[in-house]
């Protein structure tokens, strides 16, 4: 089980608790409590999305490290090796995320567009832009799991 599926399972447990609060408010016919429960469930999704995104960044960095190691030693020609040497000079985490994604998946592939959507969503939350952002965590976690398996690191 990857960390994404682990988080997906963890989120399901937490979401069930927030769902129970919605059920109770509905059963009590209490609109105020209902709205609060909906809001709390949404905040939980946002928090899990950020958590998932940090794991995605970590997976991207790990994949790029693997790719760098493979290319640095397997590419004898300097003309081919120089870009990897430049990247290897500093910490991979300092390279812009989408540049790293670009070397792991074809930019015209849907995986790139999907990660960019996550990246934009992450930035909007992190910078306070859309406090109303909504997520379907089960699908996002599964998709991140699938995308990471498809990274080309050879």
């Amino acid at each position: 089980m990857t960390v994404f599926l682990e988080i997906k399972a963890q989120h399901a447990l937490a979401d069930a608790a927030f769902a129970a609060a919605e059920q109770k408010a509905f059963d009590d016919d209490n609109d105020l409590e209902f709205d609060l429960a909906i809001r709390a469930r949404q905040r939980n999704d946002q928090a899990y999305f950020l958590f998932l995104f940090t794991r995605l960044e970590h997976a991207v960095n790990a994949a790029v490290e693997t790719l760098l190691a493979a290319r640095l030693f397997a590419t004898p020609a300097w003309s081919e090796r120089r870009i990897w040497q430049a990247w290897a000079r500093g910490p991979v985490r300092d390279v812009w995320l989408l540049s790293k994604v670009e070397v792991l998946t074809d930019k015209s592939h849907p995986d790139y567009a999907q990660i960019k959507e996550y990246y934009d969503g992450r930035n909007k939350i992190a910078h306070g832009g859309i406090w109303e952002a909504q997520f379907f965590i089960a699908s996002i976690a599964q998709t991140m799991h699938d995308i990471v398996q498809r990274f080309v690191v050879a």
Binding site: F26, F135, A138
Partner: protein
């Protein structure tokens, strides 16, 4: 002229750019076209040669960096025979860009409202066609206003999303509470709530696919299942117990 292997400027992209330049006279490096301004040849001659090979027949092109880069767009290419300077080309591009996005967002919003209304209509049919549930009614509640970030940004007016409940007499059994359209991970979300469950209904279809793919996700089971007549009937029957 061969393209670099890593280039986002595919032959299809170049053909599309050439067509837009021919018809409108200006094009920007928008996300939808999946090309990066860094992939453009540095030489203007090379760029123009590529676009002419892709079908462009207008005047010699110019390329400019936007004075107001936004939404990832930082470069325009324009036909100076159509626009006297880069500012005029940029204004024209931006007006067109905003109009295209406004129309696209408006279309998505209308499609979302249609899908919600079809969902309500399907539910009414499912109730009517299920003998032990046919006496249940659908009651409208105050609608929920939808004014999402993209709608605000591109000037699309807010709409009201239908909120409704299935009732047995005065007893409330299931509430359908639409949450929104632009959900990361889904093409729209509706929360369902009963006294003993609160599953999520998400449309997993592609945007504007013309057909919904509603799936119901219950976090207690951590699985999603197609939202069919049977899953709906099971949900309502459980709420009746």
């Amino acid at each position: 002229m061969p393209l670099a292997q890593s280039s986002s400027l595919t032959p299809e992209t170049l053909t599309r750019l050439a067509q837009i330049l021919g018809s409108f006279g200006v094009v920007g490096n928008e996300d939808d076209w999946h090309f990066d301004s860094h992939d453009l040849p540095r030489s203007q001659y090379e760029l123009e040669t590529l676009l002419r090979e892709a079908g462009y027949t207008g005047a010699n092109l110019r390329r400019e960096s936007l004075t107001r880069p936004h939404n990832g767009v930082d470069t325009i290419i324009y036909d100076p025979a159509r626009y006297e300077n880069s500012a005029a080309a940029e204004d024209a591009w931006e007006r067109d860009y905003r109009k295209r996005w406004h129309d696209r967002i408006q279309h998505r919003v209308e499609d979302w409202l249609d899908r919600l209304n079809r969902l309500r209509s399907n539910i009414a049919d499912w109730l009517k066609d299920t003998p032990d549930l046919s006496s249940l009614t659908i009651a409208d509640r105050p609608s929920a206003m939808m004014s999402e970030e993209l709608m605000i940004r591109f000037g699309v007016a807010p709409i009201q999303m239908p909120v409704f409940e299935i009732r047995k007499g005065e007893q409330r059994l299931v509430r359908f509470q639409p949450k929104g359209l632009w959900i990361i991970g889904a093409n729209g979300r509706v929360d369902l709530v009963t006294r003993n469950a609160a599953p999520i209904l998400v449309d997993q279809s592609e945007p504007l696919a013309g057909r919904s793919d509603w799936r119901m996700y219950d976090s207690r089971k951590a699985v999603s299942v197609p939202f069919s007549r049977q899953t709906f009937v099971d949900l309502v029957r459980a709420a009746l117990q």
